[in-house]
């Protein structure tokens, strides 16, 4: 689990709150957070199940290199959560396995 320094009253300035939804549930984030940071701070270390074996994965490098934090954002799949800033009202969905081709 991760926490925010400001919650403990040490060393971090409180920022403006931004609300996003993750799989339909609302979470509060700090303006300037990446989606990946927001997920980790909200106690969600996994953001997808892999397309190959279906095992859970989460943010790993936080700098756009590893592509393990892929999520759906506002209807677009495979977005890098660590490279995307939270925006008020953003809808994030966790990705589960490979996409199926619809008939």
């Amino acid at each position: 689990m991760f926490r925010r320094l400001e919650a403990a009253g040490t060393g971090a300035a409180p920022g403006r709150t931004v609300r996003i939804s993750v799989d339909g549930g609302a979470i509060e984030c700090r303006e300037g957070d990446s989606v990946a940071a927001a997920l980790l701070a909200a106690g969600m270390p996994a953001c997808r199940d892999t397309a190959v074996s279906g095992t859970p994965r989460g943010p790993f490098c936080m700098m756009g290199v590893c592509y393990d934090c892929l999520v759906g954002i506002d209807g677009r799949a495979n977005q890098q959560a660590c490279m995307t800033r939270v925006r008020e009202g953003m809808a994030v969905v966790r990705q589960t396995g490979a996409r199926e081709v619809s008939a």
């Binding site: 689990m1 991760f2 320094l5 409180p14 270390p45 074996s53 859970p56 943010p59 490098c61």
Partner: protein, 486 residues
């Protein structure tokens, strides 16, 4: 849909600098100062790169937490902002192509609108920096396991820190810097599992003279003393494994030290085994690369100016070989002076005169590096995994699969793509390339330098068809898709 915003105007400049870390910021500032029309393009919304990540926007305002070396980055951002160089933030460069007039056409996507744009320039300085060395241990893909660099980015950008039982594992200065920053922030660390062999200091000893006269000594010892006083350190860890629970998240870390096996119930494992140059762009651009025997990684072949084997492409900073943030800054300035000469802005005499102070500062900043490199050289068993350990995180290829393919006569990393799809996922080999090379070398009794590396092409990061379609139409792009009449 707003049709006015479906295409970017094509930018034009003398010099394009890619990456806004210390090398890129210093290069762009110096180049603009020498009268070059300069654009700095960077993936992040704010300048700083990874080492000075979010230095202008971080919520961590207590300066003692991140330390003076971090805040040094502000001293690079301010002059850059006043320099006249243009900053294109939140933009990912995915292709650099030579144009007929000897310049470059660069394609990038801006994250704010998801549109691709083109930029024309006459010289490119790559300042794309480093990434963490792959540290493939069993369970390193579990949620709950992140890199130490990732943990540090969370702290810098969001003031987010681990809670519960946290273990740091690996070796290298960044691991201890992160531990020190956590101590300053009041974050509890359960222990540090140090994988650097205790006897490795003997290999480092011949380089001690430079280290003793370097600025690293005082700072490093102070930091190490503070960490050692507060965090239990297990030295000589020879094996490491992350174990997941029912939900597939990390629950336990198992390790071996001094011949004994032990286990810790954990919430987080932060891994670090040093950093290596980020070579995807420099390789795709066609620059020659060489194997660094001292650092066990590939780096672009550059001369004292940062010039590569490709005309008008220069590399500055850790992307040209790991030497640290202070060195990156000076290498950025040297590269800028070289670019000004290459573009005919100054003559050779002026170039040499302008570069002299930067070269002197660079020599000072790199003094003592060899000591670090020898001391923190990643042990072979953590570079060359065995068994079911995942090597390619994207395609989930294991060490044994790669080794088996190598035993079957796989010619090298490129053929490994055909065998196992290794390196074919979205990260494009960034987290498996070095490991795959080392494993083929191991199985075939060859040297990694002879095994080679993946052939990389543009786009260097995945782009969508929509992004490509949003590129401004040029005569070339039109003629490329026009059918000839039969």
């Amino acid at each position: 849909m707003n049709h006015a915003a479906t295409t970017h105007d094509t930018l034009a400049c003398d010099l394009l600098v890619i990456g806004a870390g210390p090398a890129g910021l210093a290069a762009a500032t110096r180049a603009a100062g020498l009268g070059l029309d300069t654009v700095l393009i960077d993936e992040q919304p704010a300048p700083g790169g990874q080492i000075y990540r979010a230095v202008t926007t971080t919520p961590v305002q207590d300066r003692d937490i991140l330390g003076a070396d971090y805040w040094h980055g502000l001293g690079l951002v301010e002059p850059f902002r006043r320099s006249g160089a243009r900053h294109v933030a939140g933009a990912m460069v995915w292709a650099v192509n030579r144009t007929e007039d000897g310049g470059f056409e660069v394609a990038y996507t801006t994250s704010a609108d998801g549109l691709a744009g083109l930029l024309h320039c006459r010289h490119v300085i790559l300042a794309t920096g480093a990434q963490e060395r792959p540290f493939p241990v069993p369970g390193w893909t579990l949620p709950g396991v992140i890199t130490a660099g990732a943990a540090q980015i969370l702290l810098k950008t969001s003031g987010v820190v681990p809670e519960g039982t946290t273990v740091l594992a690996g070796g290298g200065p960044l691991l201890y810097l992160l531990a020190w920053q956590y101590l300053n922030a009041g974050v509890k660390i359960h222990s540090i599992l140090e994988t650097t062999p205790p006897g490795q200091w003997r290999q480092a000893l011949p380089h001690a003279w430079g280290f003793l006269r370097s600025p690293y000594l005082g700072k490093g010892l102070k930091l190490l003393r503070a960490v050692r006083a507060a965090v239990p350190i297990v030295s000589g860890v020879t094996a490491l494994e992350a174990v997941g629970g029912e939900r597939g998240h990390l629950t336990e870390v198992r390790y071996e030290a001094g011949g004994e096996r032990r286990s810790i119930a954990v919430d987080q494992l932060l891994l670090h085994q040093g950093v290596v140059p980020n070579t995807n762009l420099s390789r795709a651009i066609g620059a020659e690369h060489v194997w660094s025997q001292r650092q066990d990684c590939w780096e672009p072949q550059v001369d004292g100016w940062g010039a590569t084997s490709v005309a008008q492409v220069t590399i500055a900073g850790d992307g040209a070989g790991i030497a640290g943030a202070m060195a990156a800054e000076h290498r950025g300035r040297v590269a800028a002076v070289h670019a000004a000469k290459a573009l005919g802005r100054i003559d050779a005499a002026a170039r040499d005169r302008e570069a002299a102070p930067h070269r002197a500062a660079l020599a000072l900043a790199t003094r003592g590096r060899e000591f670090f490199e020898a001391l923190y050289r990643a042990p072979a068993q953590f570079r060359r995994p065995v068994g079911d350990t995942i090597v390619c995180r994207c395609e989930e290829a294991t060490a044994e699969q790669v080794r088996q393919a190598a035993r079957m006569g796989c010619q090298g990393p490129n053929q490994m793509k055909a065998f196992l799809r290794c390196g074919m996922g979205p990260c494009q080999g960034r987290f498996c390339g070095l490991t795959v090379g080392e494993l083929i070398a191991d199985e075939q009794g060859r040297h990694p330098r002879d095994v080679g590396y993946y052939r990389l092409r543009f786009p260097i990061k995945p782009v969508t068809l929509g992004e490509i379609a949003s590129l401004p139409q040029t005569d070339h792009s039109r003629s490329a898709v026009v059918r000839f009449k039969k």
